[in-house]
């Protein structure tokens, strides 16, 4: 029914930008001695997380992220790896969400989350330069200055600055996500991109706790123009603790009648050998949205599920 050729023709600029951005990102990692790897999209057991729903594929699942397989490679002695791949999450559809989306994920042995923030910043600044954007981008009538250093603010501070209730209260009333989305996110990454870091411990299921403050996990998120773009952390390398956290997530999932996943045993086995490291996932579609000044993820992807 839709005038297909016309709708697709309108996306030409965004799709060209998308292709150039992906090439630029790839080049950044190759020039920094990363190995590009591919891991299976179909996996027997996704990481048990409370709020991420995997799509079944036969008896297995489509990956919700390549995290577990990439960490097994880290553990096997691949210290710097990156991957650009499709990830799948059931029932996620909105202006910023597609149930099938493109993720960039990379890991560095020996890094912690602060060093990974530095690298993320450098990679995006390089890409902006490659694409001819210089030191600023304009997104939906906002000008965001990309000149480093970017803003870094702890989750605790964002609540003090922007939220009507305290972080402790938000957590005890199970309103963390709601407060974050309603009151905090709109202020993040407005003048400059913003990293928010040190998430409450229970919100970093696979992240290492901070040595000086065990109430927080060494996890961060990058926001540009209020858009959540990237999530990274210092990796938890303690298999026993990881198993315990997975068990808790599985218990919660059972209580809420969500699909249950089997324990990713091979991942837990390999975690014993994983070096201290940090890893990060970045939504490619959303980064394209920012550079292409697109209000919706639909504008930067060839086809949405509704178009098929």
């Amino acid at each position: 029914m839709r005038d297909d050729g016309f709708q697709l023709a309108r996306k030409r600029d965004a799709l060209q930008l998308r292709a150039r951005l992906i090439q630029s990102i790839r080049l950044y990692f190759i020039n920094h001695d990363f190995l590009e790897i591919e891991t299976p999209l179909r996996i027997p057991a996704p990481a048990p997380e409370e709020h991420i729903e995997a799509l079944p594929s036969g008896n297995w699942f489509l990956q919700t992220s390549p995290e577990l397989c990439m960490k097994r490679l880290l553990a096997a002695g691949y210290p710097k790896i990156f991957q650009i791949c499709k990830c799948f999450r059931a029932s996620e559809r909105g202006n910023l969400h597609l149930p099938e989306f493109t993720m960039l994920e990379w890991y560095v042995a020996g890094f912690d989350y602060q060093q990974l923030m530095d690298q993320c910043e450098e990679m995006i600044v390089d890409a902006a330069g490659d694409l001819g954007f210089g030191d600023a981008i304009n997104w939906q009538n906002r000008k965001i200055n990309l000149t480093p250093p970017w803003e870094r603010i702890s989750v605790q501070e964002t609540f003090q600055k922007f939220a009507p209730i305290t972080l402790t209260e938000a957590l005890s009333k199970d309103r963390f996500d709601e407060i974050l989305v309603e009151y905090i996110e709109p202020h993040l990454g407005i003048a400059k991109p913003t990293f928010i870091y040190d998430y409450p411990a229970k919100l970093g299921a696979l992240a290492r706790l901070k040595e000086s403050d065990q109430s927080v996990a060494e996890r961060f998120e990058l926001y540009i123009a209020g858009l959540e773009l990237s999530n990274g952390f210092s990796e938890l390398t303690n298999a026993q603790e990881q198993r315990q956290r997975f068990n808790e997530a599985l218990k919660l999932r059972t209580q809420k009648n969500y699909a249950t996943y089997q324990m990713p045993e091979k991942f837990l086995d390999s975690l014993e050998n994983m070096p201290a490291s940090a890893g990060i996932a970045l939504g490619i579609d959303r980064l394209v949205m920012l550079f292409a000044d697109a209000a919706s993820i639909d504008e930067v992807t060839t086809f949405t599920p509704e178009d098929l």
Partner: protein
């Protein structure tokens, strides 16, 4: 009964005994967090609007609404008259109750008239309506795939963005839900 994951633009639910329609909808979700459903709701009786964010555990009663096929007859003093072709019963809707439908209304079109406790309160048109372009700038030839658009006026007086190759006098198909151009219609 609906759950939050059923929410979408156009869904009608009952809150405090009044029927509401979801007029704006967006799915939001912090990467590792809960799914949230941000809605703008409009009271279908008095037009009052409010915004609310729902969570996946929320559920809703469906509004007790009925739809009846009726034919559009005429407009008089700001009222739109429709008739049931079987019973010849006539009802009227006022401007506010018509919403965007007035932009796509052509004589004798069949529409679904919405009844809440047997009172006419709204209208929904077929998803696609073919309308004639009555006013358009001429086409600069050769420009068929650039994706550029221009505004044209339709027979109903509605102004719409269309590809540059659409000419005056041609018929186009419009999606009445979004008010957007779909395609040219031949003949």
């Amino acid at each position: 009964m609906y759950t939050a994951s059923d929410l979408k633009k156009g869904l009608r639910i009952k809150i405090d005994n009044d029927p509401y329609i979801v007029t704006e909808f967006n799915f939001v979700k912090p990467g590792k967090g809960q799914a949230l459903y941000r809605c703008k709701l409009k009271n279908m009786l008095n037009g009052n609007q409010f915004e609310r964010t729902f969570r996946s555990v929320d559920n809703f009663e469906s509004a007790d609404l009925r739809e009846k096929k009726m034919q559009y007859l005429y407009k008089e003093e700001g009222k739109y008259c429709f008739m049931d072709n079987e019973t010849y019963e006539q009802i009227y809707l006022v401007e506010d109750q018509m919403d965007d439908a007035k932009n796509f209304l052509i004589d004798n079109i069949e529409a679904e008239i919405l009844l809440f406790e047997d009172r006419a309160i709204g209208i929904s048109l077929p998803n696609f309506v073919d309308l004639i372009v009555t006013d358009a700038e001429p086409w600069a030839k050769g420009d068929t795939v650039s994706g550029a658009t221009k505004p044209v006026k339709l027979q109903t007086g509605y102004t719409i963005q269309v590809p540059t190759f659409v000419n005056e006098g041609e018929k186009i198909r419009v999606d009445t839900r979004t008010g957007e151009y779909m395609t040219r219609v031949k003949g």
